[in-house]
């Protein structure tokens, strides 16, 4: 049996009082890649953003149910959101480096969490850039503006930046959708590499990508009333070869979506 790191219990998210996803129950295994797939508007990103409470930033959003992280409900009133987000990092759809130097991008996380020592910061920056397979490309220009990097490099920088706060989980919201195939391949290789230490949850539109990189797959679907529900969850191989639900089969064989 896999060890569980994150668990959604009866999770419902409302935007302006209307449910966007409803009654989601899900157990995310540690140090595995879990892919969330489904057609546009099925609530994949909404579900992903529940795991680090990013929905808090949307004033009209309300979350019901529980998300247990290492057994603790991150929506409990006494939980420190800042600490949750430090331990559960996020990489966004469009690369969004800070308009600062490459070094400062990676150092920002540790800095705000209290790391002051310059040598310690240097070491974190190098380790994270290496882990994100970017070090060799940028080691001679660490103090150049991050926006001078290519899109693929920027996205790997965002991954390095997320790693710098020493998270246990990485949430990735279509991290390769704005990248070319070569940059996408690099990101996918990197994800496989990262599962030695990290749990990854990735939202993707691209079913081949889900099949290639993930260990487990979640299939979500919104019905007529446009409320996203979890349809099926299981090992990726099983979802793609022997799905239990007709709707999953229809989706992965391209009959809709």
């Amino acid at each position: 049996m896999e060890e569980i790191i994150l668990e959604a219990q009866n999770l419902t998210v409302y935007y302006n009082g209307r449910p966007a996803i409803e009654g989601v129950n899900l157990r995310i295994p540690r140090r595995r890649i879990t892919a969330i797939i489904g057609p546009s508007g099925c609530g994949k990103s909404t579900l992903l953003r529940c795991f680090n409470r990013m929905n808090d930033l949307i004033p009209s959003a309300r979350v019901e149910g529980k998300v247990l992280f290492e057994g603790v409900n991150i929506y409990a009133p006494d939980v420190d959101v800042v600490e949750v987000r430090r331990r559960i990092g996020m990489v966004f759809q469009k690369p969004n480096p800070f308009p600062k130097s490459i070094y400062e991008n990676v150092a920002f996380g540790p800095r705000i969490h209290g790391v002051r020592d310059r040598r310690k910061l240097d070491e974190i920056v190098e380790r994270c850039l290496r882990a994100a397979a970017l070090w060799d490309e940028v080691k001679d220009k660490l103090h150049q503006n991050a926006l001078t990097l290519s899109g693929g490099q920027q996205q790997r920088l965002c991954i390095a930046r997320a790693l710098a706060t020493e998270p246990e989980v990485l949430l990735m919201d279509e991290p390769a959708s704005s990248l070319d195939p070569i940059a996408t391949m690099k990101i996918e290789d990197l994800m496989r590499e990262l599962t030695r230490e990290y749990t990854i949850i990735i939202v993707t539109h691209n079913m081949q990508q889900a099949a290639r990189v993930s260990d487990y797959t979640v299939f979500m679907l919104a019905g007529e009333e446009r409320v996203g529900r979890l349809i099926e969850f299981g090992p990726t191989q099983q979802i793609f070869t022997r799905p239990r639900d007709r709707r999953t089969e229809d989706y992965i064989t391209g009959r809709f979506g």
């Binding site: 680090n52 990013m54 930033l57 004033p59 800042v82 600490e83 949750v84 987000r85 430090r86 990092g89 996020m90 966004f92 469009k94 969004n96 480096p97 800070f98 308009p99 920002f108 996380g109 705000i112 969490h113 503006n145 926006l147 965002c158 930046r161 997320a162 710098a164 706060t165």
Partner: protein, 285 residues
């Protein structure tokens, strides 16, 4: 063929109209500047800067008015800039999006359009009489601060709103607190825009006459203001005073003072443009 010629003709005519419109503005401004320069350049001398106003045009200078303007503008900046930026940060980054916030926003926008003399009346009641500051530099600076606060807040909010949401999300996702997000990511990016707003708002304050006359700033000051509670005058009031006299000598003095005021204003605007370009190169998107 006929149609094509007609279309081209219409295009040319419109271009001509637009060019004329631009030219009218430019020509009027140039003539104005030339006229002021022709009449005022002659009076610019060392004594014009170091002399107090006088009954005799050849002995009069702008010393007290220039000092008064510097005092008033410095204090106005000191009061209004921190308040304006802080209010803008609150409204953009912290305030819940509800009816109360919208009401506040609407009122700030309206306040930016209130005639400046109304602020003068407010300053007269509140600062001169209510707080018993008399006709002091402090009362003037507080009045002008109220006047430019709405402009400052609106300009700063626009600068903050132009910062992409993705930047805030990136910082929040790393576990930054709201203040850390604002301080380290949002403000540096918004700063060039805020700076431009500050300098334009101060430029507005430096040229204001009506509210200061309303609170009773004097038109004849023959001593240096030494502290915020001293009586004062400012350049626009001095200019107003000289222009309203019959003698030609005072009109020349007024033209000279206008030149100085223009130089101060244009250098402030140039500074705004310079700083904005310099900082924007660092934070390019």
């Amino acid at each position: 063929m006929e149609l094509r010629k007609r279309r081209e003709l219409i295009g040319k005519v419109f271009e001509g109209i637009a060019l004329t419109a631009t030219a009218i503005g430019l020509v009027a401004l140039t003539l104005l500047l030339l006229d002021v320069a022709r009449r005022g350049l002659g009076v610019l001398s060392w004594s014009f800067f170091v002399n107090y106003p006088s009954r005799f045009p050849e002995q009069a200078g702008i010393r007290s008015a220039l000092l008064g303007t510097l005092w008033v503008i410095s204090l106005t900046a000191l009061f209004s800039v921190p308040l304006g930026i802080a209010a803008a940060i609150y409204l953009e980054e912290y305030a819940p999006r509800n009816r109360l916030t919208r009401l506040i926003e609407l009122n700030i926008n309206n306040l930016a359009g209130v005639p400046s003399i109304i602020y003068g009346l407010l300053g007269l009641e509140l600062f001169v009489r209510g707080m018993r500051l008399e006709r002091s530099i402090l009362a003037g600076a507080l009045t002008l601060s109220l006047l430019i606060l709405p402009i400052l807040i609106t300009a700063s909010r626009e600068a903050l709103r132009a910062v992409p949401m993705s930047l805030r999300e990136a910082a929040f996702a790393l576990g930054a607190t709201r203040w850390q997000v604002v301080r380290h990511q949002v403000l540096p990016v918004a700063f060039p825009g805020i700076l431009t707003g500050i300098i334009l708002a101060l430029s507005r304050a430096i040229g204001e006459t009506a509210p200061l006359i309303t609170i009773g700033a004097l038109t004849f000051i023959a001593f240096d203001p030494r502290g915020p509670l001293d009586k004062f005058t400012v350049l626009p009031i001095q200019i107003f005073n000289w222009v309203s006299r019959p003698q030609e000598g005072f009109h020349r003095l007024a033209a000279g003072a206008i030149l100085i005021l223009l130089v101060v204003l244009l250098s402030m605007n140039a500074l705004a443009i310079y700083l904005r370009n310099r900082l924007q190169r660092r934070y390019q998107w």
